[in-house]
Each structure stands twice: as structure tokens, then as C-alpha cells.
Amino acid sequence: MAHRLTTCTFCGVGCGLYLETADNRVIGVSPSMSHPANQGKICLRGWHIHEVISTPDRLRTPMIRKDGQLREAGWDEAFDFIARRLKEIRDKHGPDSIAFLNSPRCSNEETYLLQKFGRTVIKTNNVDHGAGVYSNNSTDVLMEMIGVPATTNSFNELGKSDVIIVSNVDLGKRLPTIAGAVIRARLDGAKVIVTGTRSHRVVKNADIFLQNKPGTDALLYGAMTKVIVDHGLMNLPFIKKHCSDFDNFLSTIVNFDLLEASEVCGVQAELIEEAALAYAGAGSAAILYSTGLEYGSTDAIKAMVNMCLVTGQIGKEGAGLFALTEHNNLQGACDMGMLPDRLPGYGQVTDAAVRAEFEKKWKTGIPAKPGIAAKWVLSDRGKGSIHAVWLCRYDPVSTAFFTNAEESLKQCDLVIMQHLFLTESAKYSHVVLPTAMFGEEQVTFTSGERRIQLAKQVIDPPKGITPGWHHIMQVAQEMGADWRYESAADIMDEIGTVVPFYSGASHENLAREYGRQWPCTKDKPLGTSFLFEDGIPGQCFKFMRVERHDELFATSREYPFLLVLGHSLYYWHRNVLIRHSETLKREYQVPLLDYPEGFAGMHPDDAKQLGVRDGDRIRLRSDSGSIVTVAALSHEVRSGTLFMPFFVKQVEQQIQGPGRSGLHLIKVNVEKEAQ
């Protein structure tokens, strides 16, 4: 038996846990008490990680589609096939006809090689990760306003915060370890403020709950900021020294009148004021939001950052902005440049100087035109221009809620799939490569607190199976690239030469203690606990104007309800991994058992008014479509809203009608349907 300290593969907290192995099997898991992020606690998913890792229904050999059927093939045969077909398609339709999409659970090394392959071998910027459609706005806003696209502080600092604001995320289900940190901070005397449309477990532990109407977050935070300004609680020295564009921003603040905002948001003015004053008056106050797919609108994020800058709640312990990532390597995927408009380290592909640097280091030219994002690749094949897609650990047929990926994949001439299992997307794949599982390779993940950690190899992969990065290298070599990485550590060394804030993050350094939080450079090899801990350099922060767009969420007599599309409370990213554990499958798929056709969450008061009982069929009608679904009554849903989990994909298309872009808020009216 052996016990190895590693980091979890599920969400972005990056908990430390020990995997127990015997006879090349993972037989158990337990939390690390000393790990700074989780301190002895993990969530239900982590407790069953060994069940998922040891699942026997793995893909064992490559498969190539012949005569319409996927048939077993050899590795060389598969790599030849991929290289040949990619060349053919590139020659026929051009480099931009090929797209590379991966999962935000792919390791840094795997992600880095995939985008490098796309850019240097195929010469396209069509690279994106599957969560980009809802998280890339956070990256852009943070880059613009604070210059760093990541959580500014550390999770274990929450115990030192005086005030914690949690915006629009059910921490208890999505990131339980953080929920625990917030609950325990409150037990220790911190004030907890929760904003958002839906109630959840952390709300039960909050001092103030601002249950605002869907879509009104920007308005709410704008109003709180105006309260702070009106009370003269701005941190003027901080603003003067470190922020630009304050006057421009201040001129719009008049649009966020407290009483009007209270009316529109549906939240008592006294509570908004109380929350704002608590935040402004706190020694250190933190704002937590998720970059997952709840309502993380660009404007909402801007408004939160504005409020943070106005009070100077950044650059000190226990304060800051927490852009929580719901996947173990969403942060890493972005750091590695798996973005159609950014290179590793976040330089823009359109910036000639940045490109020149990379061309020098990669010893080849790279394309200047920004690529097509995953959303468009999978919705309309980039208006029909995409002919081949490489999917790395990504199963868009199951997980890309925002579109019907089947249609796009069906129309592609080549779909390459790397995965652990024969997932739904395999039905549309021309070649399938089995990859190594978590625990079968030593790679790195970067958690939501910028912690780059080693996920250790604790067992050997099944015979013949190698890491995903290895496949990418093989194909690259077949296509003429001179890539010679002997191990993931080699790739990480290269990453250190192109991403400045990873320059000290070698596998060797990461193996000591508990990984390193970036920036981790040669000068600062121990990493950085909270950003700007060594001081804030001059005017590096920027305010941004937020305009009001009340029309997005204003309801009418004809369509009085707002239908919110979001995660099911219990569903975890379509359960591709989850379904391989009996307990996790049961816990995460319970809604599907109780409501096999899906459901719309509704507040009991609203249901009573409509004469609807739990389990009754209801019709939701918008101005462009209608659907029939089943009512699931819950006090957690806000009155006047309906909540539908994303897993009922057809909903969005049916109710929004063809051609509409993925709005999360739809105005509907509700009627009881014949049962």
C-alpha cells in the first residue's frame, strides 16, 4: 500500500488529498489536514474519487470509424490517420477550418501542447476551452480592470476577512470547501452577505441576503457603490494613487439611485444600504463570485470590481476578488492560452510584439487573426467554415448546454476525440484515443487561488495508454514538428519560458509543500499568497462604466416570469465523471429520477396562485416559442422566477426560437397544462 499526496481533479478549490493504492489500484482517498486550501476537509465528490478512478469501463484501445462503425485500431494507425486527415483538410480548406476544443479539466501540460499544436502546426487560433462561453468574460474584465485575470487572494485568508460577499453561486454544492470556509469565518465573527436570485445553504448562514431579481446584479452592486460614494466612504487616497478613469465612472453612478435600484432589484433599500456600509467599513472584505455558468454577466463583474476599487479592498489579506473556478484547471486552461484571442500568459494574438516573442521561442510563425470561440464552433461550425474539430477530454454533446453540438459534429469531416470513456460525442467521432486518467500521470493543475499543483502519478495506466499530451506530441511529430518532450515536467519547463508568472513553477519546485501560487518566478520561487502583497505598482487599476440594460430583465403583464437557465443544484457538469461512482451517481442524478423529463423550479406561492402542485405539467410560453415541463416546487427559487437546469437542453432552443443567442434570462408566462 502507498499513500501519495495529490490534488483533486474535480472543482477549482484544488483540495489536497491522499490517494491510497495497492496492487496498481486506487483503493481509497482521504483529505490532507495540512493542505492550506482545505485543511482536512473535502466534498462528496472527493470522497468517491477512488471509485471514479478505478472504474473498469475505460476505453482500452484507439478506435477509427470504418464503414460507419468505430472499430479498434492500433496507436500508430490512429496517429497516421489523424495526421493524414488533418493535412488533407488543412490543404483543402485552410488552417482556419480546424478547431481545437478542450475541457477545463485538462492539465496545464496537455492544454499548452494542444494550443501550441493548433497555432504552430496547423497555424490557426481556433483554440478554446469548453467553459469559455461563460468564463472568458471574467478573464477579460479582470485583465482590463486589475491587470490580472485571477482570484487576488487565497482561500485560507477567508478566515481573516471581516466581511465576505458571496455573489450568485451556490457554494455549498459547487465549491463546498469554500462554503465551509465562509461558514466557519462567520462562526468566528465575520459578516456574511449573500446576493443572488436563488437561496442556498450558505444563505442560511448569512447575516444579510439580498435576493435580487435575475439580471439585476450590475444594478445592485452599482447601487451599493453609490451608497458608498454618497456616504463619503470611498478610499480616496487609494483611488488617487492606484486607479484611473474614476471620474468617468463616477459620472455614471447617478444612474444607480438606491431607491430606484431597490424597486427594480426587488430588494429592500435598507438591506442594500446595510450591506454597502458593512463592505466599505470593513478592515478587509472579500467578494466571491463564480466564473461558472450561472449569471456571470460582464456588467455584473465590472460592477463588483468597481465597488472593490472604490473602497480599496484589494492588495491586503482577507480582502480582494475571488473569481472562483468550478473546474480544477479552468484557471490553468486560460493561463495556458487556450483562448482564441490570447496566447499563453494572456498576451493578445493581435499584438505584433507579443506574437514576435512567441515566434522566437516557438521557432515558427503563428497566426495573427483571432480564432473562433467554442460556442460558434459548436453552434454553426463558425458559419460553416470549420471542417475538423479536435476534442481533448471534452464531450460537448453532453456538456455544451449552449447549443446542439451533435448537429455541428455531424457535419464535420473529421472529429478527433481524446477521452477516458466512450462518451456521447464518440458517436460523431472519426477517431477516438483513450487517455490516461487522473492518478495515472504526473501533471499540473492550477486552482482558483492561482495554486499550481502537482497531480501525482500513483498507478500505471492500462496497458498501451499514455497521457493525452503524449498523443498530441506524436501527431505533431508526424506532421513535421520537432517536439521532444520526455515527460510532463519537460513541458512545464517550457511553459516557464513563455509564461512569466510560471517561470519558477517547475515540477521540482511544485513537489515541495503544497504547490505554488502564481506569480511563481525565479525571483519569487515560493509563489505569491495574495496579489500585490509586495505593494501595488502605481496606477494599475481601472474603473469601468456600467450602463444599465433594464430591458434585459424587465417583465411585462404578458410575460411576468423570468425563466433562468442554470446549473441544476445537484448536477455537476453533466456528470460525465460523476456517473462512474454509485454514490455520486445517486446523489447527483436524483433530480433526473424524480423528474425524468426535466423540471422548472418554482416558488410555492407562485404555484399556489396558478393552481399548480409539485409534479404538475406546466406550459412556459415566451414571445418566440413554448415548452411543456414539470413544476418542482422549492422555497429556494425566487418568487416571480422559474429556474430550469441546463441539462434539459432542448428547452433553450424551443423556447427562444431558432437563431437567438444564448440568453440566460427569458421572459415567459406560465400556465397549468392538462395533466
Partner: protein, 360 residues
């Protein structure tokens, strides 16, 4: 029970003795920071076995009730299905299991093999398990903030249910045999008879150690048993517990006396299925969900109060002749919302004190 004395420097020879008898020996080691764990002793790590260190977090119940345990294989073919049990019950000795965990294994014994239905898998593993209990004597290393074995009356020195018990007396150790096979080890020359002086020293050390436990959890454990058994705990208290619970299952998984499991069939290959038993938890929503959707414990606080009833209600203590809480404190360490046993006992005490008119 017979007792012997041995020199401190000979203590690890017991590991070698057990290995010679064909046992795979498990012993405690340090991990990173404050982490410790039980692991198989090999030539490579033997010198790193520690006698005094924080109790390993991952409970040793997994040696009788594994986190994931293969039960059987089913093969279909030749017009029928062949089923074969998969037993995995090697001879194992846990060197350095703490008194709280010994009580935990005893509780699992009562549950799995002490009633009408004997669990074959558990029984086979248990028969092959040799327990060398280490008494907690070092307040700095062995005992942590969350420990409350005194309240649960399981420590710091087990009274029974071990094969051998070791206690650090300083330059010497005292070894106590709890079973015949434990006593059989005394034939080895490292053991010698002791005297009155050793017994006195043992008593002194134990008294000293007992005074190191945190005050707050010592007094109200039995009150919690009484209040739960009498049904006087307020609904409001359970709701407060539920509000802080994140339904992670951790308390169940780390608890040495928790027994719940579920069973899963996994497809290994075409025509071949393996059945495994995995830990499960009554904290989870689906645990009592019935076919058809009815769930008698849908609300989280209804599930939480079930846990504490199972642990502290008199009927259950009577049924197993053992309490399902051994005072190890792991649930306090693992809980995100700080509603492990010590906190809940305190919450019950506080709530009933506030409303108890008879309290003077």
C-alpha cells in the same frame, strides 16, 4: 490479562516478530505537515515508523470495512451465469492502533458479526486482523484538540478488544496481552516480567494524560445521550445543525464506528460484471430515497438528527452493547460547517439550558 515489560529500543522488534509470523504489518507514518497515515511496513520505511504522532486521519476501520471492496464477479456464458466471490482477507497486523479506534473496530464487530446475520467478508478480514494498541501518553503528539475519548470512555487506554497493548513508560514499555494470540508473542525474549513499580508508573502516566483533555466536551456527553433518548432536543437545534451541514459525507467516512455502505455493479468487460461494496453515508439525500421518489428524510436536518440518534440514543447503545461514538474527534476535524460530535453536543446543551426552567 498478562503483562510484560520490554525495553524501548526493542519495541519495533514486535513489528519484525509479526512479519515473521506471516502478517502484513501496518504502522503509522508521517506525511506532509501534520498529516499522518497508516501504511504497510517494508524494509524501506521500517525506520520511519513513529510511536507518538497525531492519530492518522484515515480511519483504520478500512482494514475490516474497505473504502471500496470487491465482493464478487459474475461471468455470463455457456448459457448461464457463473458467480464467484472475491475475498481479500490477508493476515494483517495494525501496529499502533489507538484506543478510540480499537473501540471503533469493536463496535463494527458488534454490528457486522455480533447479530443475526454475520457478514462473511467482514468476518474473514476480522479473523485475520491482529491489533497492537498504542496507549496515548504524549499530550503534545498523541492527543489533539478534537480528541474526547474520555467522554466516550474509550481511552486513552483500551480496557479490552486488542490482541496486545503497548504503553510508553519512559525507557521501558509495558505490553499487555488481550488475547491468546497476543499472549503467544510473550514467548519472545524481548519480553520480561515486571513488578509493582511498573503498575504504579502506568497509573501515574494515565492520570497525568487524562488531565490534558479539553474541558468543554467532558461534561455534557451523557447529558446529550439523555436528552436524545428522552426526545427533548428542540427541532430548532437540528435545523441549526442542518443549516451548517454541506452534506459531504465526511463525518460518516472518517468515523471509526460508522457502518453504512452501498453496493455497485460495474461492468468490467462484455459479459463480466464485478460487484463492489463502497462506503455510503446517511448524511446524503439519496440514502433513504425509495423507489417512486418518497424520502422519509428529505430535509437535511432530518438526516443530521438521524446521525446523532444512531450515535447517542440509548436503544442503539443497548443493541450493540457499544456506543457508536468513540471520541476520536475526526468528525470535528473533517466538518466544513463545524457540526461534528463535540459541537453538536454543545449545541444541544446550550439550547436545552436556555429553555430548561429547572436549571438553577
Amino acid at each position: 490479562m498478562k503483562a510484560r515489560i520490554l525495553d524501548r529500543r526493542d519495541v519495533l522488534k514486535i513489528v519484525d516478530l509479526l512479519k515473521r509470523q506471516g502478517y502484513e504489518v501496518i504502522a503509522p507514518f508521517r506525511g506532509r505537515g501534520r498529516d499522518t497515515f497508516f501504511d504497510t511496513v517494508s524494509d524501506e520505511n521500517r525506520e520511519r515508523i513513529e510511536l507518538h504522532l497525531p492519530n492518522p486521519y484515515y480511519p483504520p476501520k478500512r482494514y475490516v470495512l474497505p473504502h471500496i471492496e470487491p465482493l464478487l464477479n459474475a461471468h455470463s456464458g455457456n448459457g448461464g451465469i457463473r458467480i464467484q466471490p472475491t475475498f481479500d482477507d490477508p493476515k494483517r497486523a495494525i501496529f499502533g492502533i489507538r484506543s478510540c479506534d480499537v473501540a471503533g473496530i469493536y463496535h463494527l464487530d458488534r454490528f457486522y458479526i455480533g447479530r443475526e446475520f454475520r457478514d462473511t467478508y467482514y468476518e474473514r478480514r476480522r479473523k485475520n486482523l491482529f491489533l497492537v494498541n498504542m496507549v496515548c501518553t504524549d499530550p503534545g503528539e498523541d492527543i489533539n484538540r478534537e480528541c474526547f475519548c474520555m467522554c466516550a470512555d474509550t481511552g486513552p487506554a483500551s480496557r479490552d478488544h486488542f490482541d496486545m497493548q503497548l504503553m510508553d513508560l519512559g525507557d521501558e514499555f509495558m505490553a499487555v496481552a488481550g488475547t491468546a494470540r497476543g499472549e503467544a508473542l510473550f514467548d519472545d525474549p524481548i519480553f520480561r516480567r515486571g513488578g509493582e513499580g511498573h503498575l504504579k508508573r502506568r497509573a501515574e502516566i494515565l492520570n497525568g494524560v487524562r488531565s490534558h483533555f479539553k474541558n468543554t466536551t467532558r461534561s455534557w456527553f451523557s447529558a446529550a445521550v439523555r436528552q436524545i433518548t428522552q426526545g427533548t432536543v428542540l427541532e430548532k437545534t437540528w435545523e441549526e445543525v442542518g443549516d451548517r451541514c454541506l452534506e459531504c459525507g465526511g463525518c460518516t467516512y472518517v468515523c471509526p464506528a460508522c457502518t453504512c455502505f452501498t453496493v455497485s455493479d460495474r461492468k468490467v468487460a462484455p459479459g463480466e460484471v464485478e460487484r463492489v461494496r463502497v462506503w455510503d453515508s446517511c448524511a446524503l439525500l439519496g440514502f433513504t430515497r425509495m423507489a417512486g421518489g418518497h424520502n422519509p428524510r428529505r430535509a437535511v436536518h432530518d438526516r443530521r438528527n438521524r446521525r446523532f440518534f444512531r450515535k447517542l440514543e440509548h436503544h442503539f447503545i443497548e443493541r450493540e452493547l457499544s456506543m457508536a461514538c468513540v471520541g476520536c474527534g475526526r468528525c470535528a476535524a473533517v466538518c466544513h460547517g463545524d457540526v461534528g460530535m463535540p459541537s453538536v453536543v454543545e449545541m444541544i446543551r446550550r439550547a436545552t439550558m436556555e429553555t430548561d426552567n429547572n436549571e438553577s
